[in-house]
Symmetry: none
Subunit: 242 residues, 2 copies
């Protein structure tokens, strides 16, 4: 029996081809994944080719949640995994699918998790990738690393499906911060650190990227977000007093 992940969503950002969305639905259903989010899709996921390629997973296409704004789509997730084909270009760890599922499993089956896939041709844009708490990549032949969108989803589904129904007690995750709390915290960090010349004016995001990676790896709780914002508040207070 394969493992079920009721709170896990596959998020396709700007998918271009309806056939690909259909094939993704099929791959999801093979591994009993039920929740599909489409962000600014460039195609009609209810068209005949999409349905045909879903091979009977129409129900997933019909239930798909469509968004125009990525922030809004991700708002309630506790862990956002960004997939990338570009290995070794980041100064942060890139998880394999197996490591990713390990991480997801640690959070427990009841945690809202999003696995995000970018456009068929370019993958996630830098701005989209920044929404990721962790990055994940499929180890492929470096000389032949183009992979179809549905096949990428399939491999994550496979890893999720084969994760043994945990022997571990389900961890309570009510205390984990939501994506929008995290975004609020990053906004606060940016504003405060920038106002105090802590960031490079010509590229303020450079240092913020490090903080995103650090906090992304840690899966922060509400409380921890409040503490970090408290420290920013302290700086706001002190600098206002000058």
């Amino acid at each position: 029996m394969i493992t079920s992940w009721p709170e896990l969503a596959i998020v396709l950002v700007e998918p271009k081809l309806n056939k690909n969305v259909g094939a993704v639905a099929r791959a999801m259903k093979n591994f009993n994944l039920g929740r599909l989010l489409l962000v600014s899709p460039g195609c009609d996921h209810l068209s005949d080719p999409a349905r045909a390629l879903s091979c009977g997973a129409d129900d997933l296409l019909e239930r798909a949640e469509v968004f125009t704004d990525l922030d809004e789509a991700l708002a309630d997730f506790k862990l956002v995994v960004g997939t990338t084909a570009r290995l070794g270009k980041y100064c942060q760890p890139v998880y394999t699918p197996a490591q990713t599922v390990e991480k997801i499993d640690e959070l427990g089956r009841q945690t809202a998790v999003a696995i995000m896939f970018g456009r068929e041709d370019f993958g996630l844009a830098r701005e989209q990738r920044r929404h990721s708490h962790i990055l994940s990549s499929i180890p492929l032949n470096p000389d032949f690393s183009s992979m179809n969108l549905a096949q990428s989803v399939l491999l994550y589904g496979y890893e999720l499906g084969r994760k043994k129904s945990a022997d571990r007690a389900p961890q309570s995750t009510t205390e984990l911060a939501t994506h929008s709390e995290l975004q609020g915290m990053y906004g606060h960090l940016r504003k405060t650190l920038n106002a105090n010349d802590f960031l490079d004016k010509s590229n303020p995001d450079h240092l913020l990227e490090y903080l995103r990676r650090l906090f992304g790896r840690a899966s922060m709780t509400h409380r921890e977000v409040r503490i970090i914002r408290g420290i920013m508040g302290l700086i706001d207070h002190l600098s206002g007093k000058r």
Copy 2:
């Protein structure tokens, strides 16, 4: 880097659709598998649709070895794995892809191994299945277990490719902060936050514990420690100016 299996062959028995054979070649190349055998193919694996679906893995199609007799095709292999979608119908163990790769790995990288896939619609016929030394099946949603031929090959390729990762030496950790760097950072956090009344005077460690847990989970790098200390330095600077 993914593992290479020079002596491993994917054997397609009576494949019907040229597109499927092309897509299989692509999936194989993704995981650096180079040897494709076709037994009594019902399609032309060098046709344009096959080449198109291979997305640049034409070389595999061109090198494919074609047989009319299954016995002859399998003659030189030391291990023949028969794949099946029909779980639980046999009086013999059915290996998962991971267990299959474990088994293949035990024999060593220089052993000739065949992984055999049947026709798209029926899978391996009983007579063909009898050539298998072991049977293997992908655990799927029992209510939705039809999977495309190329996707099945993809999952075995993925398991083969990742095999090494398990035995591989752990990733270099030179960039990780040392214990004393971390202790220095926690000392700085304590001093600065305490001096600014951010900590509970009666129990300053209470909040610091939260930060220790947060940063502890993340396995911080040198650079990240420097950034956090930089933020504390900013607070020191601002509060000194008051």
